[in-house]
């Protein structure tokens, strides 16, 4: 494994081995001294072209828990506002000597270009509406840690599938590990072509609610045009929101997941978000362990320059 660009490049065995590794890092993060010297002397560059707090902080925390140094580039107040291209920024950052780059960008494919230009290992931390592989890994780790396995789990991913890199990535990982996945969304928010996804679809949450082990809710992404394709928020909540009444109909052991940030009162009722079914904070905690596993896999075993 040289890069982690798309979850589709990672086969089921490799996903399992990354999850096994991540379990070891969950243990490390629970210690009195939650830090290991493994990547001492290595530098990880975070190149973030989109606002992102949790993903950037999570990579930062993961790198530091492995004793790597972190160079962070974000677009606010940077040379991007002075017109510098992605290529020039990537090459400038590369000249500062990092061993790996973590890239988030609004354009699908940007991390692949950075990998070509720099020759460095690259982790895709989200590119447009395309891929977000570490999110997929933390989601399947969360499911596996909660249920003990992923195979046979019945999951629904609900909401703006079309504009969601999280849906693309997490559905891929769940299906690869043998879960059955139903996409629940207004037709206007489903991708045009679902061939190759290995999933089924449903037109409302009520159709599938009582059969689910996992309800995975997505945020309506106003910034990617996701707010313009259904008549009103109230109508969306009426068919797709996880209200208290719907949550009460879930199986007793079913869980609720969300990649954050949550729109309380839209896709998820505040009481459900704070309830005992919600694994949202576990997802965040597992995200650090998964990113440690990815950085470890890509950098340990490589000769430092």
């Amino acid at each position: 494994m040289k890069h982690l660009l798309s979850i589709d490049d990672v086969d089921a065995d490799e996903i399992r081995s990354l999850l096994d590794l991540a379990e070891g890092f969950v243990e490390v993060l629970g210690r009195d001294v939650p830090k290991v010297p493994t990547l001492r002397g290595r530098t990880i560059a975070l190149l973030f072209y989109e606002n992102s707090t949790r993903t950037r902080l999570s990579f930062d925390r993961a790198a530091k828990a492995l004793s790597a140094d972190v160079l962070t580039f974000t677009t606010g107040g940077s040379s991007v506002s002075k017109g510098e291209s992605l290529k020039d920024t990537a090459l400038t950052l590369q000249a500062m000597g990092p061993d790996l780059m973590v890239v988030r960008h609004g354009a699908a494919g940007a991390p692949w270009r950075v990998a070509e230009w720099t020759g460095l290992p690259v982790v895709n931390a989200g590119d447009g509406a395309h891929q977000h592989p570490t999110q997929a890994l933390l989601d399947v780790l969360t499911v596996r840690r909660h249920f003990g396995n992923v195979a046979g789990i019945r999951a629904a991913i609900v909401g703006d599938i079309r504009h969601s890199r999280v849906a693309r990535s997490t559905a891929g990982a769940l299906v690869a590990l043998g879960a059955s996945v139903t996409l629940v969304a207004p037709r206007t928010l489903l991708p045009v072509d679902l061939s190759g996804w290995g999933v089924s679809t449903a037109d409302s949450l009520d159709e599938v609610l009582e059969d689910l082990d996992v309800v995975y809710l997505l945020r309506i992404q106003q910034e990617r045009g996701g707010g313009d394709v259904f008549p009103s928020i109230a109508e969306y909540v009426g068919r797709f929101g996880l209200t208290r009444a719907r949550a009460a109909r879930l199986r007793p052991d079913a869980v609720v997941m969300h990649p954050g940030p949550m729109n309380r009162g839209v896709e998820i009722d505040p009481a459900v978000a704070d309830g005992s079914r919600a694994l949202v904070t576990q997802q965040v905690a597992n995200g650090i362990a998964v990113r440690m596993a990815v950085l470890f896999r890509l950098l340990a075993g490589r000769v430092a320059p």
């Binding site: 096994d20 070891g24 210690r31 001294v33 290991v36 340990a300 490589r302």
Partner: protein, 170 residues
């Protein structure tokens, strides 16, 4: 070194630990993966049969602490777990073969991240020499003179289905 010899060495190490610590009340055995873990369990069982007290046994994976990660393939991580607070106790690291000392150097870092024992000691089944670091064992099953290019392979029942120590020429 056959299975019987290994068993006698394990019992003798148990006796030495009990003698040095006037019992085993504050002792924690910490096995280093892979073969140090079953050896630690056997030493603990020997101490229990001598003293009648149970000794906590922990396990340690030192993969994240190695200084040679860049030249070895990515290792898998095994479980790291110490069942008791190390503060106020003596942690005895247990490994099968002591060679360059680098594994023990890594284990010292690893155990220090899990807590602060009063003392750390080292028990090994085989000391084959050729140290590259200033590390010495406190309890030794057998000193085995070897050439640097020979392999010493320790097999234990719990991992290999047989017990004994073999020297192989590369």
């Amino acid at each position: 070194m056959d299975a019987e010899y290994v068993e006698r060495a394990v019992r003798r190490i148990g006796h030495e630990i009990v003698e040095r610590h006037a019992g085993a009340d504050d002792v924690v055995l910490v096995g280093i993966h892979t073969r140090g873990v079953p050896l630690a369990r056997r030493i603990a069982a020997a101490i229990t049969s001598i003293e009648g007290t149970a000794v906590p046994v922990g396990e340690l994976d030192i993969g994240l602490y190695r200084d040679d990660l860049s030249t070895r393939p990515t290792p898998r991580l095994a479980r790291t777990h110490v069942p008791t607070d190390l503060a106020g106790r003596t942690a005895i690291l247990v490994d099968d073969v002591l060679f360059t000392g680098r594994t023990i150097r890594a284990a010292l870092d690893a155990v220090s991240d899990l807590g602060r024992p009063d003392r750390i000691e080292l028990a090994v089944l085989v000391d084959r020499g050729h140290r590259q670091l200033p590390i010495r064992p406190d309890y030794v099953g057998k000193n085995l003179p070897t050439a640097p290019n020979q392999r010493v392979s320790v097999r234990v029942d719990a991992v290999d289905g047989e017990a004994g120590v073999w020297i192989e020429d590369e």
